[in-house]
Each structure stands twice: as structure tokens, then as C-alpha cells.
């Protein structure tokens, strides 16, 4: 099992509010968290999911739900969870992982909801003004509990 990176995009499409990338399989704490360097990657990843998502929804016709779940490429697979509130959780893994939707759901309902949403001192909307919407946001989830829980949960899956 190998997971490469984990991303959360908020409802102001394209604002990446959390990213975590693992570089070394042998070292779970390697890589970057909420890195500036990942900004461009985040935009590209977001663009890919956005386009494929809207295409797939158009192809399925009006009025029916057709959420995109995974995107496979030659080297990796992206697993996607889109909530009705407009959050996207994206997990990149190797091709052996067929379906990680349960992992994404756990990240959402047990980690994100419990450590970020239920924490009144953490914002629910990471864009504090209109100028930070539409992909211009720069605020990240910095909540220690959240970071620790994500590490605890995903760390063992990195290898």
C-alpha cells in the first residue's frame, strides 16, 4: 500500500486548505505539510479534478448525481470525495489501491469534522474575505489535533 499525498480543497473552488506530501517511503515523517512549494501542484490537481468532474457530470445528463470517485493515470491514482457542502478530499496513491473511499470518508467524518468543524476556534471558512476566494486563498488548516490525527491515520499507509 502506498499513499503519495493528501489534499483538501474548500468550497471556494481551488483554495487548497491542506496538503501533505510524502516523499520517502521509508520515512513516514518525510515530505512536506502545507508547503508553499505545492501551490502549483495543488492548482493543477484541482484543475484536473474539476474538469473531469464537470465533464462526467455533463455526460450523465442533467439532474442526476454523478460524482467522480477515482482518476487513474499511468503512475498514480487519485481518489476523490466531494461533499455536498463543497469540500473536496483528494488522496493520491499507487495503482494497487482500487478504492480508498472508506479512507476518505474516515478522514472527513472522523478527523476533519471532529478536529476542525467541532473546534469553535478553528474557522469553518478559510477564506476570510472575498479576495481570498476563487483559488486566491492562502490559509491552511494548522490545527495541531488535525495534523496529528492525519499523521496517525495515514502514516502507516504510506508504505
Amino acid at each position: 500500500m502506498a499513499i503519495y499525498s493528501f489534499w483538501i480543497f474548500d468550497r471556494h473552488l481551488g483554495n487548497c486548505i491542506f496538503d501533505r506530501e510524502w516523499t520517502l517511503k521509508s520515512n513516514q515523517s518525510s515530505g512536506t505539510t502545507n508547503s508553499k512549494l505545492n501551490e502549483d501542484t495543488a492548482k493543477l490537481l484541482y484543475g484536473m479534478v474539476f474538469s473531469l468532474r464537470s465533464i462526467s457530470q455533463k455526460l450523465s445528463g442533467e439532474g442526476s448525481h454523478n460524482e467522480i470517485r477515482t482518476i487513474s493515470t499511468g503512475k498514480y491514482r487519485a481518489h476523490i470525495l466531494c461533499t455536498a457542502s463543497g469540500l473536496w478530499f483528494v488522496l493520491l496513491s499507487d495503482l494497487k489501491q482500487e478504492d480508498l473511499s472508506h479512507v476518505l470518508r474516515y478522514l472527513y467524518s472522523e478527523i476533519y469534522v471532529k478536529t476542525v468543524v467541532h473546534n469553535w476556534f478553528s474557522p469553518v471558512d478559510f477564506a476570510e474575505s472575498d479576495s481570498e476566494k476563487r483559488g486566491q486563498g492562502f490559509r491552511k488548516i494548522r490545527n495541531r489535533n488535525f495534523l496529528a490525527s492525519v499523521e496517525r491515520f495515514l502514516g502507516p499507509m504510506v508504505n
Binding site: H12, Y46, F50, A84, H102, R105, Y108, V124, D125
Partner: protein, 202 residues
Amino acid sequence: MSANSASISASSAGPKKSLKTFGDDIWKNKTAKINAELFTLTYGSIVSQLCTDFERDFKKVNSQLYAMGYNIGVRLIEDFLARTALPRCDSLAQTSEVISKCAFKIFLNVTPQVGNWSNNKDAFSLFLDENPLSDFVELPMDAAKELWYSNILCGVLRGALEMVQMDCDVWFVNDVLRGGQSTEMRVKLNRIMKDEIPAGED
């Protein structure tokens, strides 16, 4: 995982009945319960403290409760979606059913009646047969004309619906505490907000 499979069954079977059993199931198995009196007293002490703090200006108390509810709603919707894994609704009729049979059931263990639809189907009422917020409550004379005791609920609905891109007005029309026949909340859909679109797309 289980939530996922449940939501699939909820959308495939007849919507009315399955939403109800779906809500019941989450209430039974996935919801932590607290003592009803503790809950009622906590809310009551907030309202009565607000009345004191605002020097019995009940209009201000109403809007304060509404604002508190709004802040709860924008968070509670995530909790709700995490529990239910429901997709966005196709129609306001479906939304009303989800609100009454799932949302109210899960968070307050009551199922308000939906009714009083407007002609163009953009507004409906929720009739609360019982209201766990207002057990034991008797409004003082001066408050009975102006205070909407459970106004926090309006704010919660407004906040939660806004997060799923529905711009709604929510207000109380009637309350048994004020001597009304029933406790009625009105929900009016103004518009469905478009998801933000990245620059260059349209």
C-alpha cells in the same frame, strides 16, 4: 462505509419511507445522547441571560439567537453530511423531507410535519409538535409578544442550507409559547447559489 451503503439504499428505495428509517437508524446507532433536561436548561439559561444582557430588548435577543444559530448551522451541516453521506437534493420538496426526517430526527429526535407549501413551491412550513428546546418554558408577559424563544433553530437552518448552496430565509410564524395553536417555522428558498467557478471557466 456503512453510511455510504445506507445512503445508497436511501436513494434507491422509495424516498419517503427510507429517509425516515434512515434517520431513525442514525439517531439510534450513530448519535451520542445527552440528558434532555441538561440540554433544555442549557439553552434556557442562554436565552434568559441574553434577555438580561440586552435589557429585555427582545428584537435584539431574536437576532442574537439567530446569529448564534447561523454559526452553529455552518458547522453542523458538515457533521450532518459526515453522518449521512447524503448528496445534494434535487428539489426543495426533497430538502424539506431531509430536514424533517433526517436533520431534526438526528439532532433533536423530533420529526416536524412539513406542510403549507406556497403555490410556486418555493416555501414551506415545518410544524413542530414538540420542541425539546422549550420544555418547561413559560414566557414572561413582556416577552410573549416579541421573543421567538427557539429562534436559534432558524439560524441553524439558514446557515446549514447556505452551505449546500441554498439561499433561504427562515423565520418563526407561530409558537405555542406565545399562545399560538402550533409551533410553525417557515422556510423560503430565495435562490440556489451557483458554486464558484474558477477564473476562465463558464
